[in-house]
Structures are given as C-alpha cells and as structure tokens.
C-alpha cells in the first residue's frame, strides 16, 4: 500500500516537475527575447532616424497587426 502511494506520488511529481521546468525555461526565453526585440527596435530606430532627415512618426510600427491568425497578435504572454 505504502509502496503504491510512493509510485503514485512519483508519477505526479514527474508531471509537475516537467511542467514547471518547461514553463520556467520558456519564461526566461521570452523575457530574453523581449529585451532583445526592444534593443533591436531602438537600434533600428536610431539608424532610420539618422538616414532620414525628415522626422517621421515616433512609433516603431514593427508589431504585426492582429488579424486572428497565429502569430498575428501584438500582445505578449507577459501581458496576460
């Protein structure tokens, strides 16, 4: 009986551990990527600002429009 419960606990522990590790790694990756996107956007804006003497709109419109297709959303998981 005790042995059975140990196996049951081990099975659920594996599931939770896999899920937790996966989510932590994903979160770290998303944060890193969002920082990289911000840095790249700033650098691109600097180059575009330097190459174009006439001021354009201040907003960097690199976010794709939301049209319901996969990847079209502008929101990030961190916004949820």
């Amino acid at each position: 009986m005790e042995n059975e419960l140990e196996f049951l606990f081990a099975g659920f522990a594996v599931f939770w551990a896999a899920l937790f590790v996966y989510l932590v790694l994903l979160q770290m990756r998303l944060r890193g990527l969002q920082r990289e996107v911000e840095t790249l956007e700033e650098r691109l804006a600097e180059y575009e600002g330097a190459s174009e003497p006439t001021p354009t709109t201040a907003t960097v419109t690199s976010q794709p429009a939301t049209n319901g297709e996969p990847g079209a959303a502008t929101s990030s998981p961190a916004d949820a």
Partner: protein, 264 residues
C-alpha cells in the same frame, strides 16, 4: 525558338490545394475564438482543469481493486498520451501542411511549438508509464511494441526539432524539409495506437477509445475531465511557445535589417 508559349493546362489552384485551404479556413474558424482569448481564457481553463484533474484522480475516482492506488496514474498517463502527445503532433503535422500550402513562416513556428510540446508530453507519457509499470509489470521498461513505437515517435520529433534548430528561424528551405518530415513522422501514431491489436504486447489493449468503453462510469468521467484539462494545458503551452518562436523569427528579421544598414 518560337516566341509563342506552349499551351499548358490550368493547374492552379489544384483540387488538393483548394481542399487544404478549405481545411485551414475551417480549422481557423473552429479555433479562432479560443485563440483570440489565449492569454485570458486558456490559462484560466487550464488552471481549473488541472485542479479538477488532481481532485478527480486522487480523491474522487474509486480505488481500483487489483492494481490499487497506483492505477490513479491512469488519469495522467492516458490523457498525456492520447491528448497531449497525439494531438500536439497532429497539430504539428497540420501546421506543417498549412506551411507547405501557404509558405507562411508563422505556420512553421506553430509546427515547431506543437512538436516541442508533443515531445514534452511524450517524455511525461513514457515516464509515468514506466513508474506505473514497475509495480504492475515488475519492470520500468520493456521492448514492448507500443513502448518502442512511442520511443521511436519521441526520437522522430526530437530529430525534427534538432534539425530545425540548426537552420535559421526564417530559413524557408529548412522549414519546407522540416514540414515534410513532420508530416511523415505522424505516421507513427497509428502504429502506436494499433500496436496493441496487431502484436502480443505487455501493454494493455484500449479500454476507452472503442465502441464500448470498459471503464466504470466514475472512472470514465474523471478520465474525460483529465483529458479536457490536458488538452487546455497543451493548447496553452503551444500558444506560449508559438509566441516565443515568432519573437525569434522577428529578432532574426530585425538583425538582418540591421546588418543591411550597418557599415561592414
């Protein structure tokens, strides 16, 4: 050389392409409401579902007479295999077909995300199966047809992810070959599913996915709740991963733009 072009039959769009586009539209129409609420509705549904899975599996479901409490692992193992693994790889294959038809790299990102989640669920399936198998069969692992075919599935999609990660995220040729590989890889799933019927295996035969499920009502209900919970979890994880894959594609495109502008 004649300047007049030789007449060619009009092959576009072919029936197959039209049918695939129709299926793609149908898939989008069916999943769009959930997809648009993926950061609000999906995590909530996943949280409630996982709580219901835990309560159902540990407290509500009756104790199995022969196997005892360890049989409660069924509520994690079976949905991880039949929903988490099969459905993730099915989504990966469907997104790969959508990529081959549309050549839109966002589908490639969805395919890679689904394959990653599928690999995670396959590992969970094999691990929980091994832990369940030890007290029942006496061994953690045996070269049984179903177990071996599942291990082959894990290797197929691990190879797919490794091969795809070597190439750049916006490499269209790599995406094309990877998509074909993902579609071919899905053929292992019927082999896994029917292996218990085709060969003598230690793994038990299907008790749920058949005309007369051989489970008592309470167990079947908990199993269905668990399957719902795992399907919400799978969809949420795929959505999260897709976001990261699309960010990678975006940074890659931005780096390419910067490389064009920066002096060598």
């Amino acid at each position: 050389m004649s300047a007049v072009a030789t007449p060619t039959p009009d092959r576009s769009p072919s029936f197959l392409t039209s049918a695939l586009r129709g299926l793609q539209a149908l898939f989008l129409w069916a999943t769009l409401p959930l997809y648009l609420r993926r950061w609000t509705l999906l995590p909530a549904l996943t949280g409630v579902g996982i709580m219901a899975l835990l309560v159902g599996a540990v407290l509500a479901a009756p104790r199995e007479v022969i196997e005892g409490d360890v049989q409660r692992l069924m509520y994690l193992h079976v949905p991880s295999a039949s929903v988490g693994t099969y459905m993730s790889f099915f989504i990966a294959a469907a997104a790969s077909v959508a990529y081959l038809v549309s050549r839109d790299l966002r589908w490639d990102a969805v395919a890679r995300s689904a394959a990653t989640v599928g690999v995670m669920f396959t590992v969970v399936t094999l691990a929980t199966g091994a832990i369940w198998g030890k007290p029942i069969w006496g061994v953690y692992w045996t070269w049984d047809a179903r177990l071996t075919a599942t291990l082959v599935l894990l290797l197929i999609y691990t190879a797919y992810l490794l091969a795809r990660s070597v190439a750049g995220p916006n490499d269209e040729q790599a995406a094309r070959y990877a998509a074909i590989f993902a579609v071919i890889g899905i053929l292992d799933i019927p082999l896994i599913h029917f292996s218990v019927n085709w060969w003598r295996t230690l793994h038990p035969q299907q008790i749920v996915i058949r005309p007369d499920p051989a489970l008592p009502g309470e167990m079947l209900l908990v199993l269905l709740i668990s399957a719902m919970a795992i399907s919400f979890l799978m969809l949420w994880l795929i959505a999260l991963r897709s976001e990261s894959e699309q960010l990678i594609q975006r940074t890659d495109r931005m780096r390419a733009r910067l490389d064009q502008r920066e002096p060598a």
